[in-house]
Amino acid sequence: HQSSTGREERRFAEVPRESIKLMAESTGVELSEEVAALLAEDVCYRLREATQNSSQFMRHAKRRKLSVEDFNRALRWSNTETVCGYGAQDALPFRPLKEGELFFVEDREINLVELALATNIPKGCAETMVRVHVSYLDGKGNLEPQGTVPTAVQSLSEDLLKYYQQITRAILGEDPHLMKVALIDLQSNSKIAALLPYFVYVISGVKSVSHDLDQLNRLLHMVKSLVQNPYLYLGSYVRSLVSSVMYCILEPLAASINPLNDHWTLRDYAALLLSHIFWTHGDLVSGLYHQILLSLQKVLSDPVRPLCSHYGAVVGLHALGWKAVERVLYPHLPAYWANLQAVLDDYSVSNAQVKADGHKVYGAILVAVERLLKMKALSLTLAAEGSSAGLPGTTTGAVGFRENSPGLSPPPEPLSEPPLGIASHLQAGGAGCQWEEWTPVSLPAMYCELYSFFGDSLAVRFSTDPPLGGAPPPGPCQPLEGRKEPASSAPNLENTRKMPQLTASMNISPRQDGSPRMEPQPPSLAATVPGRSLSRSSSSSSVSRSRSSSSRPGRSTSQSRDIFPKSRFPLPQAGPPAFSFIIGGRQMGRRCLGRRFQTSFTPTPPLTTLPPRAYAHKLPVIGRVSKPVRRWTCSHYSLHLPL
């Protein structure tokens, strides 16, 4: 009944007098032109007034859209009858009639009987509820994309569900081609965030298929694809993935009972994958690095575990980088060596299989150690270059290098952080972890000790591999080497018989010490020449002292194996304090009994650790320090938010 037309005055809709007359006629009143005009104007004004008044109801209802309800309220408050029948939420179509200027609202007839007897009763509207979401954390947007978790919580859409089924079927199925396609898609699909928990769950099924190498392999590939998918934010799922991968690395899988199964390759692959996850997503979970190291160390130090587990631990450490090897494997080696040696020395037929396994482990250790030495040498040369040549202390250089080392070892997190027991692997191994109080060991000392284990096989590896080991530092190191040493590679080649790789770095330290240049220690590490090397290296060359494995046979190890003595640094002699090599060595020597090095762990560079820690610090706003990510996800599921 409010038909209106726009006139030249666009400001307001106006009711023409013709409409008024029509309305009047419909109720049987005849209106004169004059009265109609007056009425029209008045109606127009009243409508305007009511509209203006209704707007405040809209404003107070905090809406942008004026509703029929608002208008009716305004009418009611001005003692006017309300307009009924226009309360529908949907817009009403407003139609013009072609002939004649008539406009009307389309109002279809509804068959009430049909409606009443209809079987499809309309569903009631959903319950009003409140959901909470951490929108911004410390002023930053929620790291968890707003879409991921809620969608995961909601029932999955049909399509996603289908996708999930297809993918899992393809990956775990027989067809290798199909699997490849599925993996590639998994790696590049940007819309599967909601499925992530499901995939992670599938992957956590590794434990149930430990007898099936093939399936394990496929699951690992799935992990790889997920990790490589740039659209996925793994968040706390990293833990779960790591735990599954660790399972493949470390566990004495059912599949490894059969020697024909090549579970070694699986472990190698899993180790690679672990390092990949770690380097790419390690920042997502604090303390991950340490937890991994802890569990690897635990396995390594557990003599009861089968050799394949040890193998896994070694390759795992190897994959995590030379720092990990240096910190965990190297200190463990003497103790472990005893066990390994026993296995290797047993030539009985029944032991053949175990011995073969032992050789595998031996090989893995050798590879790891080799890389350790090479990288350490490289780091030392770099460090030496960094520190001014005149300074005698190499340690500063060494330490400096570690500080600057570009992400070779991630910032060690505070160890007070409680281990999050997600997987048994990740449980902290023992209270006093050696590597926690780990002291850097000088390269020469290390080499010497390692040489005592591997003998020529170590040297051979270097000798056979001169370009790699001999000239590890390309570019920047070259000039330095050239200056200090005629040529790093040349002497290496010459000294192939004599720990060639080591000479490069050994040469540096004594020289900087300002001591007379010593012959590099001969590789003749046979227990026959203890005194000689000692006497030769006199005051400065702690190296020789420390590596004097001659003393070792004399000592007894906890394993009561004479060949593997525990104390490698038997001479707590006073030396010039300037050489931290020596100091380190001596301290180790003093404490060697428990192999608990008292020397405090070099303070880690605070800068690198700051971002994650500062972040964690602010978290108590919401709840706990330790489990931020999980908390958020929880917050989506329920209204309850720890405040």
């Binding site: 400001r11 307001f12 104007e41 008045d42 127009c44 004004y45 305007r48 007034e49 009511a50 203006q52 008044n53 405040q56 109801f57 404003r59 107070h60 209802a61 905090k62 809406r63 942008r64 859209k65 309800e69 309220r73 305004a74 408050w77 001005s78 003692n79 509207c125 959903a126 319950e127 009003t128 509820m129 409140v130 959901r131 909470v132 979401h133 951490v134 929108s135 911004y136 954390l137 410390d138 002023g139 947007g141 707003q146 602010k618 108590p620 706003v621 919401i622 917050s635 209204l639 309850h640 938010l641 405040l643």
Partner: protein, 750 residues
């Protein structure tokens, strides 16, 4: 829509309620002295503040006259006794009051000029008083004439309608030709003159001239008057003038202009030279020119203060002393809780006493020089549970995150889903444990946002069975069977526009379109009281920070102060020219701030009901207010998307925060006041560096005497962050005790 004075028909209906309103008014206006009507009220405990002023006395006399005329002799007697007025005094004053009342009030320079004005009806001079109540009285004083015509009769002295355009454009030309420094000030005249001239034309039935006048000059007006102009534009008939609210505001109040003496002299000279009486009359009758000595203000200075329905606040209004300091924290013996206790015991007993002292010390010792007397407003005694809560609060505040520009709060968004019925109001309890939503379908819903479910108290029969001596009696009275995450409160018959939790979390207030404020018990989840009085939609309500009192404001243009145990209001704060849209208690509970559709903010003294501050500057209805935690500052947000900051002590605007693109429905200061959060219809939360905003002003030398501020345009520097929600307007903001920011709003699927 009907307002208080809404034409003949409403007037009749109104009459019936008048006595009631009047008695309210009495308590309001004579708050200092009257104790009879308020004898039950706790407020009377307050000391009487000296003799009533001249103005108050006149008011009293006017009230007495009205009562007499309506044969309410008893009331007359009581009032006279209470006020201590003699009968003769009243009479002598009465004549004086009606005749030369205007001169008394205006005083000063304008007096001589005013004497030139021909005498209007007795009612007109009084209409300049701020309160509609006074207006009503005066209207009734004029022999029960329809009030509109009384006021409008001022328009009856018309000149030649065809000359109005000439007059106006003459003035316009003059103003445009004066020196720049005066032009800005005199330009303020345009809008009120335009409006009144237009109304005069309409009143005298010169419809066509009025339309032409409007067409020609409406474009010149400042853009922030657009809303009013739109209303005005529709008015072309004398009959329409009667019921129009905006018009009512123009009639009942004088448009206040602040002009320097130089500019004013210039204008006066011009008008006298030209014998332009038409304009001069309007200036005399409908405008109030607040003349000050000193430099004329610049355009930006004027613009920042103007925009309200009735011009700027008069300067003297903001001169009253406001005790904006905080009350002393009550001394609470802080028993250390169990955890601490154990920890202490391990280390040894002696330390325990020490900490006890410390926790009390810091805050309570210092008494804020600006704080009101502790008992200025009688406050409820602290219950044991309140003390416990205070202790909890202190503990929590030690864990509070210190916010700053470098350390912004985290924001949690509480999204109301499936709120088809329309979410209209939200409130959190101070400890952030409960959340209440008011809905357009008349329901109030309460949610628990902690794992603790909401439970009702057992029925009376079951309660009898309980061992009342047991330690956990408070636990036992709860009925586990009723535990649920949310409860729905039914009772209102219109959209719920305001909800507020009591500080002790036992009660909830809700105000609704049905004209009532309801008090709900959160123990039984039933309605306890319906407070009737507003008779029109109640837009907002809030509990006092100490409980017991609450304030409400609504479409009837007044804010009312209530006590939960009184079914009638204790105070009526009348003065706004349009709806009171939001109401907030000062942290010390001695003052109430109200924001209105008339685009002003008023601060009222709870003790005596006086308006102690008028803040103008907003260009749209004000929908949110927030006091800073230290009580010194006030922030206000309006439909124009701007947040303005006010210094309460000096009565000055001290900041303008631009950035929002839609109505600001929520403002909140962080617990320490460093950050101001604003939530808006534009689906954003913005954080502002309020510390910086306040500091910068404090370093300036205050021109408090003139009140002329120059605001730096530094919104962008003060804006610390803008945070978007996907499609959820921000209806409410709340800082937890640890400074986590909670936002709430209903998801809007369109």
């Amino acid at each position: 829509m009907a307002a208080v004075q809404d034409g003949q028909m409403e007037l009749d209906a109104e009459k019936e309620t008048k006595p009631e309103i009047l008695s309210d008014g009495t308590s309001n206006l004579s708050g200092n002295t009257a104790s009879g009507t308020l004898s039950s009220s706790p407020l009377t405990a307050a000391p009487a503040g000296g003799a009533p002023k001249m103005e108050d006395q006149q008011t009293l006399i006017a009230v007495l006259q009205f009562l007499k005329r309506n044969k309410l002799t008893d009331s007359v007697e009581i009032l006279r006794r209470e006020a201590g007025l003699g009968e003769d005094q009243e009479d002598s004053q009465a004549t004086d009051g009606s005749g030369g009342g205007k001169g008394d009030v205006d005083g000063g320079d304008a007096n001589s000029l005013l004497s030139r004005v021909s005498i209007t009806s007795a009612a007109a001079p009084q209409s300049m008083c701020d309160s509609p109540l006074m207006f009503m009285l005066s209207a009734a004083g004029a022999d029960d004439q329809p009030d509109v015509s009384v006021v409008l009769s001022a328009y009856s002295q018309q000149g030649d309608p065809s000359l109005y355009q000439v007059y106006y454009s003459g003035l316009k030309n003059f103003i445009e030709s004066v020196l720049d420094c005066h032009r800005a000030e005199l330009s303020q005249l345009f809008y009120p003159l335009f409006v009144h001239m237009y109304l005069e034309l309409v009143y005298n039935n010169h419809e066509n001239e009025a339309k032409a006048f409007f067409e020609k000059f409406s474009g010149d007006q400042e853009c922030y008057y657009q809303d009013d102009l739109r209303v005005l534009c529709g008015l072309t008939k004398k009959e329409h003038l009667k019921g129009n609210e905006v018009l009512l505001d123009f009639r009942t109040s004088r448009f206040v202009l602040r002009i320097s003496r130089d500019s004013y002299q210039l204008l006066k000279r011009h008008l006298q030279e030209r014998h332009n009486n038409q304009i001069w009359n309007i200036i005399q009758e409908h405008l109030y020119i607040d003349i000050f000595d000193g430099m004329p203000r610049s355009k930006s200075q004027i613009d920042s203060m103007s925009g309200s329905l009735a011009g700027e606040g008069k300067r003297e209004v903001n001169k009253a002393k406001v005790f904006h300091g905080l009350l002393k924290e009550p001394e609470i013996e802080v028993p250390l809780d169990d955890e601490d206790d154990e920890a202490e015991n391990e280390e040894g007993k002696p330390k325990k006493k020490k900490t006890k002292k410390d926790s009390l010390g810091s805050k309570s010792k210092k008494q804020d020089p600006n704080a009101p007397q502790q008992n200025r407003i009688p406050l409820p005694e602290l219950k044991d549970s309140d003390k416990l809560d205070k202790i909890m609060y202190m503990k929590e505040s030690t864990k509070r995150i210190r916010l700053g520009p470098e350390n912004l709060p985290s924001i949690c968004f509480y999204t109301f889903l499936n709120a088809y019925q329309g979410l209209t109001a939200v409130d959190f309890t101070d400890d952030s444990s409960l959340l209440a939503g008011g809905f357009a379908d008349s329901t109030v819903r309460v949610w628990s946002v902690t794992p603790k479910k909401l439970r009702k108290v057992k029925s009376a029969a079951d309660l009898n069975m309980i061992d009342k001596e047991s330690d956990d009696v408070l636990e036992r009275i709860m009925d586990e069977k009723t535990a649920s995450e949310s409860k729905i409160l039914y009772g209102h018959s219109g959209p719920v526009y305001g909800v507020s939790f009591s500080p002790d979390r036992n009660y909830l207030l809700s105000s609704s379109e049905d004209g009532t404020v309801r008090l709900w018990s959160l123990l039984t989840f039933t309605c306890l009281v319906g407070y009737k009085g507003h008779n029109y939609p109640v837009w907002d309500t809030q509990f006092s920070p100490f409980g017991y009192y609450f304030v409400s404001g609504g479409h009837d243009r007044v804010a009312r102060l209530w006590a939960t145990d009184h079914y009638q209001p204790l105070r009526i704060f009348a003065g706004h020219l349009a709806d009171v849209t939001c109401t907030r208690f000062h942290p010390n509970s001695n003052y109430v701030a109200t924001g209105s559709t008339d685009r002003t903010i008023r601060l009222w003294d709870v003790l005596n009901g006086n308006c102690v501050r008028i803040f103008t500057g907003h260009k749209g209805p004000i929908h949110s207010l927030a006091f800073s935690p230290n009580g010194k500052f006030l922030a206000s947000g309006s439909t124009d998307g701007r947040v303005l900051l006010w210094d309460i002590g000096h009565g000055l605007m001290i900041g303008e925060l631009k950035g929002h693109t839609d109505t600001i429905y929520s403002l909140k200061f962080s617990r320490d006041g460093e950050i101001l959060a604003s939530g808006s219809m534009d689906n954003t939360v913005r954080l502002w560096n309020s510390m910086k905003a306040f500091d910068e002003v404090e370093t300036d030398d205050f021109t408090a005497t003139t009140g002329h501020i120059h605001l730096p345009d530094n919104s962008q520097e003060l804006l610390l962050g803008t945070y978007h929600s996907k499609s959820t307007p921000v209806t409410h903001l709340h800082f937890t005790r640890r400074n986590l920011l909670l936002a709430a709003g209903a998801y809007n699927s369109q």
